[in-house]
């Protein structure tokens, strides 16, 4: 029975991924004084892409054909590891925090491969940038979640997030600080505003968008969908830091999760509206800053809480 609910929840999760971005876009428009598209606009976009024909470049090899599928499905898998609300995730075993990181890594890897495969110079540039920032973004994940794993002596995502409690007041700060780190990670990995502008129209300034310039039809659909999904996966990951707090009830847990996601959306929109884009050469610095927060946590809590 519980398995069935988990599956159901995960299905809702997948389906509502475009909605999440839709809400973000809508709110962003309203905050800048525009009416903005409907929150379901992302669904219409996806539907349109499905109708279109898939065209491959002449220079494309089989890599371009499998890249979107691999990329999409690895993110789909990664999402199964995350606890949503108080529900037990579909996949959960000791060490799944590593799997989570590498599933997302695999997705990015294939996206980069697919971009390089075509041989367009713009896409190569985008791929190089994506790879560079990934190098700086990865430590954020490992230091943040690694410190959590050290503290609780668990290596499964579900166990870690379910042992967070508020008994120690210094923990609140720790959680908030980690969530800030993860928020940085989310912005980088999903190419949002201060790091990368998803709405830019100049190829030279793009990071993520430039990689899928040559894709169309079903492939583009998969890429778009996986980017929506990735957004929700990371948002859930950030929300999980606040989520359980010893709430044992499933329904309340789920509601809390939704509320936290909404707060997260609020923050994201606020930052995207208020901040200009970082200069490309300054991005590694900010990523290192986020990673060093994780290092600090690791230092403080592994050495001193014995």
């Amino acid at each position: 029975m519980e398995k069935l609910i988990s599956v159901l929840i995960y299905l809702i999760f997948i389906v509502s991924a475009p909605l999440f971005i839709g809400i973000v876009n809508k709110l962003k428009s309203r905050l800048t004084g525009r009416l903005g598209p409907s929150i379901f606009q992302t669904y219409f976009d996806l539907k349109r892409l499905l109708r279109k024909e898939t065209i491959y470049a002449q220079s494309a090899s089989f890599v371009s054909r499998i890249a979107p599928v691999v990329s999409f499905s690895s993110i789909l898998f990664a999402g199964m590891i995350l606890p949503i609300g108080f529900y037990k995730p579909l996949i959960s075993f000791n060490g799944d925090i590593i799997l989570f990181a590498y599933l997302l890594g695999l997705s990015r890897f294939f996206q980069i491969l697919g971009a390089m495969d075509i041989g367009s110079s713009f896409e190569g540039m985008g791929a190089a940038r994506e790879a560079t920032f990934a190098v700086f973004a990865e430590p954020i994940y490992f230091f943040t979640l690694g410190s959590l794993a050290f503290i609780f002596k668990f290596t499964s995502m579900y166990d870690i997030f379910h042992s967070i409690s508020l008994n120690d007041p210094s923990f609140i700060i720790f959680i908030i600080v980690s969530a800030i780190s993860v928020f940085f990670l989310m912005i980088t990995e999903t190419s949002r505003m201060p790091v990368d502008d998803p709405n830019t129209h100049l190829e030279l300034t793009m990071i993520h968008e430039v990689m899928i310039l040559d894709n169309s039809g079903l492939d583009l659909f998969l890429y778009q969908y996986s980017s929506y999904l990735k957004m929700l996966v990371y948002a859930t990951f950030a929300a999980d830091f606040f989520n359980p707090f010893n709430v044992q009830n499933h329904i309340i847990g789920f509601l809390l999760y939704i509320i936290i996601l909404l707060i997260l959306i609020g923050n994201l929109v606020w930052i995207e509206t208020m901040m200009g884009r970082f200069r490309m050469k300054n991005i590694p610095r900010y990523l290192l800053f986020a990673a060093s927060i994780g290092i600090l946590n690791l230092l403080i809590y592994t050495f001193f809480n014995k």
């Binding site: 007041p169 210094s170 609140i172 700060i173 720790f174 600080v177 300054n282 590694p284 610095r285 900010y286 290192l288 800053f289 060093s292 927060i293 290092i295 600090l296 230092l299 403080i300 050495f303 001193f304």
Partner: protein, 211 residues
Amino acid sequence: MENVLNILFCLSLLYLATTTRVDAYLKVFVLQGILLFFIVIMPLINRPSVFTLILPVTILLVKAIMIPLYIRKKIIIELEVKRNIESNLQQFNFLLLTVFSMIAVFISSNMLAKYTYIDAIPFAAAFSTIIIGLYIIIFRKKLIVHVIGFLVIENGIFLLGISVASEMPFLIELAALLDIFVVVFLMGIAINKISSTFSVDDITALDELKD
């Protein structure tokens, strides 16, 4: 709870190593002053009296209000200091250096805590603060940033004093605070004069005296 404040102190240092704005430096300094106020006042909460409150309130007054106001009004606004700190070292490398120094300090203070009477986290936080203050003085060019680096060192020393539980007589603490304020006051005057006579306000201007 005191650990929370110390962690926030460390975070403020990381931010100091990341940002490139003079204004942000000043804001971080204000934040540190407020944190110091809370750190000092925390043990006094159980036995409140007017006498014990004098020191924390003076700290708040000097470090979070008077010095920042003086620097902002008399230097940053009056001299129209450009908002960018001039650095000898790329910001990314500076941050790396900071992080590695902090790791070294934390590990060594953890080792020290095993056989001496120190509180590991405040001690490590204090020492990282002193070291990062020094780095700021070494690697930045702007004189006003040097002053803030000096103040950061002073904050670190104050934190160190708390972490080693050194009970200086009350009047000496006040006199030390007054001294620091006068130092900053004089440095402010000096920067004022320097920027009017040299027409730049960074350390590269000061190379008249050498052998």
